[in-house]
């Protein structure tokens, strides 16, 4: 479908924009109904999402836990809903169990529908520039890079 655009419009933000070929009601459901969230919000290959709890009301909490199925490594995060305008906007806080960036971040999900298609804009506002940059650099330390490293090793060994 659409291409994902990632930008850093200010020194504390990361913004992602992408178009989905579906009405926004469905995109909203896919972000707020646990049995749907679990089917796509998984991160790098090999991870599943055994825990997804959502109390969708202002002041309500959500809790996500991912698990790497190979070695059992778990990663959890959660936060509180600050604003809910269904099916248009959600503002919530996010904090990882193992703090790999300082402080708490605030996520804003905005869904705009036009002719049956939905433009998603996800903004993550970090407490500091250092926190934002830590997230951008994390690709290296976290799972993504690990699998690319394995791939690189594999390619290097088969070349010979």
């Amino acid at each position: 479908m659409g291409t994902l655009k990632v930008t850093t419009p200010s020194d504390r933000e990361i913004v992602m924009t992408r178009v989905f070929d579906a009405p926004r009601k469905l995109v909203f459901d896919a972000h707020t109904k646990p049995d749907l969230v679990k089917r796509w919000l998984l991160g790098p290959p090999g991870w599943s999402m055994p825990v997804c709890e959502i109390d969708l009301r202002v002041g309500g909490k959500y809790r996500y836990v991912w698990r790497q199925d190979n070695d059992g490594t778990q990663m959890g995060m959660g936060g509180v809903y600050r604003e809910i305008v269904a099916p248009e906007q959600i503002v919530n806080t996010e904090k990882f169990d193992e703090a790999w960036y300082p402080g708490e971040a605030v996520d804003t999900l905005l869904l705009v529908e036009r002719a049956g298609r939905t433009t998603l804009t996800q903004t993550v506002l970090y407490e500091s520039r250092a926190a934002r940059d830590a997230v951008l650099k994390s690709g290296m330390e976290k799972g993504v890079a690990a699998s690319y490293d394995r791939l690189a090793e594999l390619l290097a060994s088969t070349k010979r």
């Binding site: 479908m1 994902l4 990632v6 850093t8 989905f20 089917r39 520039r129 951008l136 650099k137």
Partner: protein, 115 residues
């Protein structure tokens, strides 16, 4: 860690819209401070200040011509910064591709229930 500090400077430099516009202008060829100041309705000292930030971040360098002192883009450093963004993008692109597939399934399900 040298790399990390350098990257901090690069992202900080990229976080300003005027500086991004200057980089976009330099992507189409080198330019003097006067030429750069022109489209921005900004004083030359203000542009020079932005250029100093970009130079410190290694994103812009000065050309040889002593009179014009043209500034030019250093694409290598810009490439380092965009590679970080690219990693983040790839992770989310995977998620959103799965979401595409899920939405397709939800759409057909919904249509079936319609009278």
């Amino acid at each position: 860690m040298h790399d990390v500090h350098r990257l901090d400077a690069t992202f900080a430099a990229l976080a300003d819209p005027t500086r991004r516009a200057i980089l976009a202008r330099l992507a189409s060829g080198q330019a003097s401070v006067t030429e750069l100041a022109h489209p921005f309705a900004m004083s030359q000292p203000a542009i020079s200040k932005h250029l100093r930030v970009l130079e410190r971040a290694g994103l812009v360098s000065r050309g040889r011509d002593a009179q014009r002192r043209p500034r030019r883009l250093e694409p290598k450093r810009l490439g380092e910064a965009t590679r970080w963004l690219e990693r983040y993008r790839r992770l989310w692109e995977g998620n959103y591709r799965r979401l595409d597939a899920l939405l397709e399934r939800l759409k057909t399900k919904e249509n079936k229930w319609e009278p």
